[in-house]
Subunit: 221 residues, 2 copies
């Protein structure tokens, strides 16, 4: 009984890693669709979001069942509760990737992004993807260092967002209001993906150490 | 033992209602700060967000302790898990209210909103506040109807957001890029507050009926 329970818990944790790969793929393809105005790819990201939602529901059901049948305590309870939270965060990251793809679709055949912001968004997407991968592995590796690293990497994301605003609000902006609104919302979506990754890292710190990192632990900016 | 456990669970559910009052107050005051460029009020909303975060942590700890010590099953397990989710959603609503207040603060002594959008945002805030209150009560009342109502009310929010975009992207827009970006982000914040309320309603449907409403149940748009 205990063995099968440990096995089920391990499977949940492994499946989190698997789910983070789906999210990473969504982030990358959404960005590609955005940068190249690729409508087929955009549509694919939007429809593939159902796979991420279904991974979410599946893992969640198994967590509920672990809670109900096995009544885990201490570290194992924390692991199950953290897993529940982390799948919700990843589902949200999937939604945000779909939002990026929807803006790409909305502006097709034009590109949503002005050329002078392409590099900024390309880098934002790389940072976001790195964070998704680290966050997805962190409960599996129980690596508290990586969890802390996520907060550091997030600082680059914040810098990128600030540069966007500088470009957006400078007197040289010639791309009009629509492009400005798109850029503001797109920047917000990537920033939120990164926030969720940071938050996932914090949950792992909690699982491993049993300690939260202060009042704002569970709350992402 | 069982009695004290029921009592603890009831206290958690009551405290959710209490926490929703804090959130409702944050939404209302942030909107007031935004509409009147009231910097003191904006600062207050931003610093009071710590109270919402602390309610979050407190309720969450009690949920963990219920899970660990009482090993609830069936409906009670669902209630605890839903409560965990709902406090996280409300903490997020608090953050979003603080984001609204931060834009008010950033533009002070100017108003962030052009006059022709004030009515739209005033209504958005009313709808959001109604939704926060309904969502906060719904686990307590276990009223599945109200949970469904939330999705309906959310349609008005979507309509209001669409009107914003129409105004924002019309040729008559004379308020420049900065105001457009503020409006786009502010609209997004209110929309997300409403999404979280809908999502809270869905969790209550799950608690009461044991059924999720499809693949996208837990995912807010």
């Amino acid at each position: 009984m205990r063995d099968s329970y440990r096995e089920q818990l391990d499977t949940v944790v492994n499946d989190l890693v698997e789910m983070s790969r789906l999210v990473s793929s969504a982030v990358k393809r959404a960005t590609q669709a955005l940068l190249t105005a690729d409508i087929q790819l955009a549509e694919q990201v939007i429809s593939d979001d159902a796979k991420i939602d279904s991974a979410h529901n599946d893992i969640e059901q198994r967590c509920f069942s672990l809670l109900a049948r096995q009544a885990p305590v201490a570290g194992e309870l924390r692991t199950v509760v953290a897993a529940l939270r982390m799948v919700a965060e990843m589902a949200r990251m999937g939604d945000l990737s779909a939002h990026v793809a929807k803006i790409a679709r909305l502006r097709y055949p034009e590109k949503a992004l002005p050329t002078n912001l392409e590099g900024n968004f390309r880098r934002m997407a790389e940072v976001a993807d790195e964070m998704v991968n680290k966050a997805g592995n962190t409960l599996h590796s129980r690596n508290v260092e990586v969890a802390h690293e996520l907060a550091e990497i997030d600082e680059e994301m914040d810098d990128l967002r600030r540069s966007q605003f500088r470009i957006l609000l400078s007197d040289d902006w010639t791309h009009g209001v629509e492009a400005a609104v798109d850029v503001a919302l797109l920047g917000r979506y990537y920033e939120r993906i990164a926030d969720h990754a940071v938050s996932m890292g914090r949950r792992v710190v909690y699982v491993v150490t049993g300690e939260t990192a202060g009042d704002d632990t569970w709350t992402t900016a």
